[in-house]
Symmetry: D2
Subunit: 337 residues, 4 copies
């Protein structure tokens, strides 16, 4: 960390800052420049917090040099993590497809879709039983009944199940039914939920928040890892920008950035990342070409009748074509699908 | 709601859309244009959801005409709401000041600051006992002990207490101690927490999320109101933009926009909205001039030693000067402080 | 276009709006709903402007149904445009690579790099002779001398030349030397420069602005096309968002969106789109997988000594590896490189 | 400037960086930390460019400590600049109002509006003769005829004239007619136009770009100042964010930030900053309360018939009420209007 003093800050202010650095147990390395003094701060254990110094008299700016995250960093854990979802490996040589509807609507619906996505190559079935909806008047999910239907779909197809948890209150129930827990974009920095999920040993599909920087995301992932849950799969699903032609802006850069900074696997969700089913396949291909370990894609057999997200869902036939195209890119990347 | 069909969409697609509209219980009003057909959809009870139609064949775009929120709208409730925080009225003619430290650190700290802000004109004391921190390794709050210290500060000063709740699990405890519950920016769309808080009858200080549009914010406020909790005070605290000279970009436009759309009172938080103590007073004045009903400001007697947010906290003396300046603006606005 | 009147707008306001629509030569199609009236506006020639109606009494919102751009739209020109840069075809089956340094620095530099990128597979050499620099104290380009050096490089390698024009004043000179004119991100909505370039018959490499929506970009492309210059190649180079881990956020969604809306070819610039040479190859692959017609990549033989953008430039060896990887993706997409 | 080397960067890389620093004429101050080495770089004349070092082997990040702008900084020129627009002083104790229509449409229109805004308290008349329009099919301004009409309005009212220049080609003509030249948001980083305007001695109303950071804006202002034109007035007019309820997000924080960093006066434009006439007055008050030196407001006597921006224009009567409210805030700020 580097503390930059104001131009012409008096000696006593500089000394007070250095005193505070030592008091907090860090080493100081001042540089007395012609115009201003800057002070390097070196911590032995973890990075000192910026805000502990920003309030001191004479301090102009404090900038981090080292990264803010630790347990999720490749520096800390130099071997890529492979997450095991009841036998399905994410982060290994194989590309993994997660597919299914936005919401579980009925047993027939989820079983029909499950069969279709399995035969197209998906290994994990997604489907929301608890839905985070912008409006309280919108459909909120079938809850426990939805979880039961997912279990039926698993029994009938062998697919693993990922489903979202919205609240600490529902966590035990979701853990009982799911093979993998989804933490949605709106809960990316819901730290009490992260803590609770970090105490389970279930694999987590951990989506980036719409206004969360990559560094903050990895820092928040530290909550999961710090709880002892090492089975974390990141998922880039688009960020919020000024662009209105698409629902979100899928941040393709995030894929190589995460690969460089972290040992955790990363998936791409082109359904939420674009918000339009006719854009999904192109962005799915791009995600794999950028180096993602898999995809999460919304599929519905009757998008016209879907209770949510119909416009961004592929029909089973479209999903099959999408997988065929993605498979070629995966092969070009030297990965199996 | 207006559904716009693709250019040259065939008659059967248009009819299928109209059929679906009727099936869902809405009225349809098609306009057959030279180039394309658009269909007005009118709902009797509440606004139909856009996504129910976006997936239909031949549909190009669906746009809302009516507003997405209901209970929080001025159309629905044409009289401004005045929230009563144990006798302190927010939304009436008087400007209300909420002030205090980011975190409760010790009894001595919170009592010292409480006395200082009361003597400067604050009516409500803020202080976090549960802290949402970006890093799991940062100070997380004194929890129940912090709540006890807030109670002591209340007893010693008569100030009302507002403090943040992070989780449904802690809600009962926070309700027991607080006069007003804060819902922080990161929980703006934590719908399960909103639902739980909506079932209490405690006043809520409800902060906007960093990437939440004003419409989404009011829509999420409907969760609180729908639960029966009518005591909701909105708080603009800055949104996330590309600008890096400040921590957030305080959206001053949000004040008149909310006043036009909603009956709920709105405060401005210039501490988080700027992130720098030397910018707080200017933006506090601006907030009141824009029509806000009050301010939430971070104050610490020793910002150099604060455990969090020291750089954006005013010292008691600075807060007093800030209040003196804000008072002049309040008077110019015809409001007491 | 749809005009939505305020709830309960009186009949005379509605009639005034309808009168104005007719006065301006458009057709009106009112829908009298239970809560509010909306009026469809249909234009025979081109889309009426929203702002002509937004000021009218009783008007709440005006929304566009049809797209704002015309000449650049696929509706208007349903066959994809293939741009011919002195024999190099962009927008056809082949993937085209543009490569070279940020700035032309010396004859030796540009010739060395030109030879390297040609042997790796590039068809067009980029290099700035006029540089838009954030600071007036930074290197501004070699101007005419730089153009001469580009000519030499062309003579020695046979590569076509693309170079940026910053001002109408320099346009004639740049046209004389270049095979393709670059319009940079900061000039994306410099309409007087667009008009001037639209009057030339030189192919244009037209970069998206950092805060330009895709619709605005295509609308601005209409300035070029309206001038009679049909040889326009779009280039996505990243937009400005809150993310700070990368210089810009490359909007990968823009590739399929443009392909769906427009007949113009589109390239991706992973150098500016990421800002870091170690991210370039991954995002280059993603661009091609998303359906782009080519890439624009910064290459420098001595990035340590580059006068600008060294950190985002590939060395010739790295560029060669990048091309090898991109070639595999191109093949998977059924395209030659 | 601080260069942070990668963790474990070998000694020869560190030495190469230090060598390069000296080669470029700067001083180096290395700090050898336990985990990594950081090197302070001190320049005698002006700030070294970050990108000269980012490409070097072993360099992880380069961060600026000093500010990127020079001539526009308060450090360089510690006395606030007062700009003199033919006798009207901007940046002094008085609040200055600039008002008028978006576009000059006819002599009658501009003279009518000029009289109205003068009688309400405006000192400078705005009106576009050259219009930057998103679409080439929209009204582009009356050009020289418009300038003539502005001259007539000046003669009839005594108001000073500010009007926008879009191109170097039109600069001489605009300089001949205008008392103040406007540089619009889209030209904020049109460096060749900035250079040309910097060579004139006309006062400049210099608007912030929609995606320009405050630091970049001041850096670009250095182009004007470096040319010798010291008469620069900044104007905050809103930035582009994800919020769609308003046309732009007026960055109120920019006012105190600019006051802290720069000696240049700053105005606020609540018309473009909000995009809706019913929001203008509230944000105008906020701008003055934040410390702005004046306002630029769009006024039209017949917004229903305006050729552009009607929806964000105040009618003369509304403008008068707006001024009355702003006057109270100005008085509370101790400033005359």
């Amino acid at each position: 960390m580097i503390i930059s003093m104001e131009r012409g800050a008096p000696r006593e202010q500089i000394e007070a800052v250095i005193g505070r650095i030592h008091e907090l147990g860090y080493e100081s390395h001042p540089i007395y420049g012609a115009e201003r003094t800057v002070i390097g701060v070196v911590g032995r254990l973890h990075r000192p917090e910026k805000e502990l110094f920003e309030g001191l008299a004479g301090v102009e700016t404090v900038v981090y040099i080292s990264k803010p995250f630790k347990l999720s960093s490749l520096e800390f854990h130099p071997v890529p993590t492979v997450v095991d979802v009841d036998g399905v490996k994410i982060g290994g040589p194989e590309i993994v497809l997660i597919a299914g509807p936005c919401s579980v609507e009925s047993e027939e619906q989820i079983v029909t879709i499950a069969k279709a996505v399995r035969s197209a190559g998906a290994k994990i079935l997604r489907g929301g039983a608890y839905k985070p909806r912008t409006s309280p008047f919108a459909f909120q999910g079938l809850k426990r009944d939805g979880l039961e239907m997912l279990r039926t779909a698993k029994r009938e197809t062998g697919l693993k199940i990922v489903t979202e948890v919205l609240s600490v209150t529902d966590l035990d129930l979701v853990v009982e039914y799911a093979d993998m827990i989804q933490l949605g974009a709106r809960n990316c920095q819901n730290f009490s939920l992260l803590e609770a999920v970090g105490k389970t040993r279930k694999p987590v599909l951990y989506k980036r928040g719409m206004a969360t920087t990559i560094h903050e995301w990895l820092q928040a992932a530290d909550y999961l890892l710090d709880g002892g849950n090492t089975q974390v799969v990141l998922c880039e699903r688009g960020i919020r920008t000024f662009e209105t032609a698409t629902r979100n802006t899928l941040d393709i850069n995030a894929v190589p950035v995460v690969k460089e900074l972290s040992h955790l696997p990363i998936l791409v969700d082109p359904s939420h990342g674009t918000g339009h089913n006719h854009l999904v396949t192109a962005v799915a291909r791009a995600g794999i070409a950028a180096g993602a370990d898999g995809l999460a894609i919304e599929v519905h057999h009757q998008p016209d009748k879907a209770w949510s997200d119909g416009h961004q869902s592929l029909r089973p036939g479209q999903f099959e074509e999408c997988v065929a195209e993605v498979r070629k890119i995966a092969a070009a990347m030297g990965r199996a699908l």
